[in-house]
Subunit: 305 residues, 2 copies
Amino acid sequence: MSLTVIGHMNPDTDSIVSAIAVADLLSKRGMAAQPAAQGKPTPETEFVLKKFGLSAPAVTDDVAGKKLWLVDYSDIAQAPKGLAEAEILGIVDHHKLGDVTTPNPLEVWTWPVGCTGSVIKAMYDFYGVEMPKGIAGGLLCAILSDTVMFKSPTCTDLDKKAVDALAKIAGVSDVMALGMEMFKVKSAVEGASMKDLVFRDYKDFDMGGKKVGIGQLEVVDLSILNPVKDGLYAEITKVKSEGRHSVFLLLTDIMKEGSEMLIVSDDPAVVEKAFGVKAEGRSVWLDGVMSRKKQVVPNFEKAFK
Amino acid sequence: MSLTVIGHMNPDTDSIVSAIAVADLLSKRGMAAQPAAQGKPTPETEFVLKKFGLSAPAVTDDVAGKKLWLVDYSDIAQAPKGLAEAEILGIVDHHKLGDVTTPNPLEVWTWPVGCTGSVIKAMYDFYGVEMPKGIAGGLLCAILSDTVMFKSPTCTDLDKKAVDALAKIAGVSDVMALGMEMFKVKSAVEGASMKDLVFRDYKDFDMGGKKVGIGQLEVVDLSILNPVKDGLYAEITKVKSEGRHSVFLLLTDIMKEGSEMLIVSDDPAVVEKAFGVKAEGRSVWLDGVMSRKKQVVPNFEKAFK
């Protein structure tokens, strides 16, 4: 049976392009594989796929009975339906180790770097497989996106080296110009529903037994979001009412390098406990906070304990 | 703070030598690290350490407050006390993915191969670090032990290639002769207490909410164990009475390539459910079964579901 390579819920560029790349690498290692995704590409990802001539993976929402590789997560909460009836043969990731377990040995490549794309570049090198130009361009954009053009505290030297190497393969001469072009696409809010915006980059976590949702919108200037802030707040209030303890939405200004966090919670004091700053009304400004994974999730996990 | 590299409970040769090797590799990557073990070396491991001039790692039974790399496991049940108060920065393994989780990103190298030593050989190559001769000899023996000199179904081409490369570094000309010498040491039961023998290579598992212990003794000829079989049965009966649902002890004949399994269980029918053969009295012969990890644990996990 052919392998299915699938990223997390509400797929971002890393999740989509990594699935495409790992399926390519596995195929070239002699294992038939195809990429899948738990949803359609965001406008940012669409821009990347089009730019580098890649096709969006088929949308799959039930993986029962399949043989899987997971990319960009190892948490059951971020997995598709049917995971318990699937066989996990591999994981490529750059996040904390989640609660996925397996009955059989598997191949895991997880590194504490800024992007799964950087791990995948090392895997191609390790297996001596030549990377197609389009996949190199896609992974390059995934790294620029995940590391907010190297500004995120999650960014490591390995990510920067991977970008240099990928740019050469993809034939990209001005990496930062490509990054700005991509982030302008990402910043656009016209035509998107509030639901689309909240779930553009959204994850549910189990924190001390409580279901906590954390979304993030990254823009080149926070003022872009002024017209939609009330709508976003109403939307996360609705999302919270669907059985969650809290929903937080990070509005990240990649130029000012910080995030305004919108807060809906049964216990809003958890925010001060986590970050040492008091929320004013429905939101709080978190200076220097750009990474959900490195600066937000660990603080909340401690605060919810 | 210096990193502590620590293997699983009831450490085998792989667990001990892998801790020594990963601590060496991390140190050479610029991170101060030292090996530790959850117990003293077995006679087999003592033979290996002495043969290649390695020192037994310090015995550590509480890791609270430490920064850790885990080698050869990712199950909480096999971890030392204080794991919840420690920080896990890396895992190197060749087993199923266990229930260890982390709040932060980490480095994981897990491959579906016969021995953690084979993964570590690839890590030295990947990081371009020269492996000391003694460590190469130790890892070589770990692979011979875990793969029962390439006879175990867990053995892969990568293990064989690693052995070839390690033998060159260690200056070992006759790998199979070294293996036989080691397995003769492992087969010896003189002077060991029944408790020592049962726990020489023993692991507890959580199977469908039940605590299940599985031990394994590998000998070059099963008749070596005739004088101690009654004593071993009495000992696992005692171990079971300490809050376990079942205890199984595999007596593996590496020449006949099969195992006699001693059985103490609240539900002995689980053995037939798992292996399709009926136990006769207190034991059953499992032809071709040599690997706890690949041939025993997955079958029991299904049967206990």
